[in-house]
């Protein structure tokens, strides 16, 4: 019962005002963007947070977050980011359900081209656009996406009640997904290209103890088989070259992320994988433009590091704005 009587109320959203100049425009309402919003609101800066999908970012689809300090029993990703959202709104940050498509710097002002709010101007910008899941590298991905291939276990697990599913990947997300899926599926096969998992030990132990989870080690996905929907996943053993057809009805993919850095391509320096380079102040190669969280070139992508980034970036942005006003005077 609890599954469907769990109610999320959400926060009120607003429209961006194209006639005023905002102090800080934050792009993305995941943990990084929301934390920057909390800090900016407390500094009484005129702050906007753009969100194109739904506040919370990638972690909002995590059933259980056990490594964010202050929640000894763990907390669902959505509940955690709902709280951050409320906190940001409490201090005056405004959340705008819109997509920023392009960023330009004209003199000392940033101009954000949006999908439905026109051009929005701000003194500083914090990019918190996060990352998207890497697509399953098989020729049939597009054909079966939404027809058995899924990138969101909490969204789609219910369609695989008493079925067999594969989870591709061996990191935290993959293993947490596999554990969550056992609430619905009768069997979960973890397909991983190495002979050991990359996920944190605590998750590994939980997965190894779960009788519904099986492992297909040293294996990479080659083909998805099926008529109109997924009926099997053909994997190849990277050591022996042997091919195996796993009879599965669903394939959940968690093999890493690609940064959502398109809107600043050509504007700021990116690393070879497309993540935004910053200095320790979280400032990019463009003055007044900052980056936080998963879209940033960083060794660890977690809620806690994104939140830390958000605080630092807001602090730096605030100093940048003060300095700007000083020079202008």
């Amino acid at each position: 019962m609890e599954e469907f009587t769990n109610i999320f109320v959400g926060e009120e959203t607003v429209k961006a005002d194209s006639k005023i100049i905002y102090d800080i425009a934050i792009i993305g309402a995941g943990p990084g963007g929301l934390t920057a919003g909390i800090y900016a609101g407390r500094s009484r800066l005129k702050t906007l947070i753009f969100e194109r999908l739904s506040p919370g970012g990638q972690i909002a689809v995590s059933d259980q977050v056990d490594n964010y300090p202050g929640f000894p029993e763990g907390i669902s990703g959505k509940e955690l980011t709902d709280r951050m959202e409320k906190q940001a709104v409490r201090f005056g940050a405004e959340i705008v359900p819109d997509e920023v498509r392009k960023i330009k710097k004209e003199g000392n002002l940033f101009e954000l081209e949006t999908a439905s709010s026109g051009i929005v101007k701000s003194k500083a910008v914090i990019i918190a656009t996060g990352a998207d899941p890497v697509k399953l590298p098989v020729p049939e991905e597009e054909k079966f996406r939404g027809r058995g291939i899924s990138y969101c276990a909490t969204c789609d697990a219910a369609f695989f009640k008493d079925k067999t599913v594969a989870v591709v990947g061996g990191g935290d997300t993959a293993i947490a997904d596999a554990i969550y899926l056992t609430k619905f599926a009768k069997e979960v096969i973890v397909v991983h290209r190495r002979d050991q998992l990359r996920a944190v030990k605590a998750l590994q132990e939980e997965a190894f103890e779960n009788p519904k989870i099986k492992f297909q080690w040293n294996s990479v996905s080659e083909h998805v088989i099926g008529e109109n929907k997924v009926e099997g996943l053909e994997v190849k053993n990277v050591k022996t070259g042997e091919k195996v057809l796993l009879k599965v009805d669903g394939i959940f993919v968690a093999i890493g992320t690609v940064p959502n850095s398109n809107i600043v391509k050509g504007l700021v320096e990116l690393n070879e994988k497309g993540f935004i380079k910053t200095n320790q102040n979280r400032e990019t190669s463009v003055k007044g433009l900052f980056a936080v969280g998963d879209v940033r070139d960083t060794p660890l992508r977690q809620v806690v590091t994104a939140a830390g980034d958000g605080a630092i970036a807001e602090f730096s942005a605030e100093n940048y704005i003060k300095n700007l006003e000083y020079i202008e005077r």
């Binding site: 019962m1 599954e3 009587t5 769990n6 109610i7 194109r52 689809v61 997509e99 789609d156 997924v230």
Partner: protein, 227 residues
Amino acid sequence: MEKLLKEKDEKYIKDLFSSKLESEVELVLFLQSEGGDKVTKFNSQYLPYTEEILKELVSLSDKLTLTVYKDDKEKEEEYGVEQISALFVEGKNTNKNVIYYGIPSGHEFSSLLEDIIDASRGTTELSDKTKAELKRITSPTEILVFVTPSCPYCPRAVRTAHQMAMENNNIKGVMIEANEFPEWSQKYSVYAVPKVVINDNVQFEGALPEDAYLENVLKGAGKIILE
């Protein structure tokens, strides 16, 4: 039954409604007794909860009313009810065309709150361009949006369909909670949500921004896309 809305959420919604609602909004809920022709064996257990959530919700503003029709064939026909539960949001800019099949809980609860506000004020926040393009739709057009309550990307897809329905009453915006209606979902091969089906002939998966969403709706309604 235990109360479903938490106290702090109730307070938030009360304040929200008192500052935002203008004219009255009627929530029309259709139910059937167990074994009814439009109840599935998967969803009879949800019905009391659906009714309870709505009862609690309308108690938070005197501008809201809840009308429940149970086993009422005549009214079902009048509203064009296809499955049970069916919820219609009736306000200034709607005409039996903003619909929820199944429980509006989880993430979809916020869709319902926003729908109520829009229906009360008779406005939506769709862009002017979208509003103008929607005027071109002159024949009945149905947007089905399949969701699960645990999908954070789904409310945006539901809201867009409902806002479009409010802007143009030729459009029916229909949320379908996939867990409650597995046969309906199977008919459209729903294995991932949100999944949007327009007039049975155009469909897409995932959350699309407003302009791309509109393009699909126009295509589904048989309109040529103008640049």
